[in-house]
Amino acid sequence: MMDGFDWTQLLDFALMAMLLAVGIAIVRLRNLFAAVMLMGVYSLLSAAWFVTLDAVDVAFTEAAVGAGISTVLMLGAMLLTAREAEPVKAGRHWAALVVVLATGAALFYAIGDMPAYGDPNSPANAYVGLDYLIRTPQEIAVPNVVTAVLASYRGFDTLGETVVIFAAGLGVMLLLGLGGRKPRRDTEEEDEA
Amino acid sequence: MTGMEILRLVLDAASIGMMATGMVFVLAGALGVLRLPDFFTRMHAAGVTDTLGAELIIFGLILQSGFTLLSAKLLLVGFILFLTSPTATHAVANAAHRAGQKPLLSRHHPAHPRDRVEQGGE
């Protein structure tokens, strides 16, 4: 490689530029169908970006949930309402901009306090993280330490998350009217098995 | 051994050739979807070049990675794309046709003077 420049960063830049373009388009488009498809595309780009950041497990979840299910469910919800968003008053635009800028400034200020990327002495990596890294090959012997943490060492956490996702899925299904109601057309009612 | 080196060289050259061809197809298809005038013409661009370019690129990647589990997974992805990409193309075209999308039959209005039907006199 020439003079140490990491050329795969060009890919990161391209993905982030596309994320920015899609974000701006979601805000500016009034056709709701286009906005829903673009949100699915945003989730997909985020999943690809997570892969470039080496967070493969998060990318899995984002691709399956964000880019697939979320898009379809939001389309189902959109079909129950109108096809075009109503225009927002100008006062709301400025208020939203102020809130976003203030939050962004606070987050950027907080980044200065965070440890360096991959620092072995940071609090996340030094105490329990190191312990898991040492114990996983001996006790569990799977090659992926994240899987060992999620499924074994913090298994109750995963159980709680599964219950939450199940409850959310049930709620969405009930709201959208899935699962068990007869079709509305009287002429086509047959007795189903 | 020179035998293995020659094999490696041939595989690398084949892989580079396939990936280059695949990239040309994918870029041509993407440009076509952007620039062609009508929905059904864009369908041609996206449907044909997506499948072909994807299969060429995946085959080039398989040649790069030798005889491992990675190649088996790449082969599986290639097979899935080979089956689902044309099906999705057909589904979108069918849905658009049923919904009443009409193809754009003539881009130039009026027709060429040579083809214009005579109105009733010379």
Binding site: T8, A67, L75, P183, R184 | F39, A46, L70
Partner: protein, 105 residues
């Protein structure tokens, strides 16, 4: 081989950006469905090339997952727009299956 993979990944990014332009601009919704499906396929290819570029074979699993989800989501969206509601779509499908085993026409 690294430079070929990198060039392929950058070409994929350019193709994805062109598809995004069609997603922003498409006058009808079928243009947008086409562009989204194609964008998903190109992202799958980008993930595959990236896995071989960096030597981490985990991206191939995600590409496999998303290749399937892309197809299912496209068909689901088209079925929505045919039947105009989620409930009617599912009810129609189960009704037709119960009557004759014929798929919808």
């Amino acid at each position: 081989m690294f430079w070929v993979n990198l060039a392929a990944a950058l070409c994929m990014s350019v193709a994805m950006a062109l598809m995004l332009a069609r997603l922003f601009a498409g006058p009808s919704l079928y243009d947008r469905v086409l562009a989204a499906n194609s964008f998903g396929t190109k992202t799958v290819l980008l993930l595959l090339i990236f896995s071989l570029l960096t030597g981490r074979p985990d991206g191939v699993d995600i590409a496999l997952l998303y290749a399937l989800i892309n197809f299912i989501a496209t068909i689901a969206i088209l079925k929505f727009f045919r039947y105009r509601s989620l409930e009617i779509a599912l009810a129609q499908m189960s009704l037709r299956r119960a009557i004759g085993g014929e798929d919808d026409e």
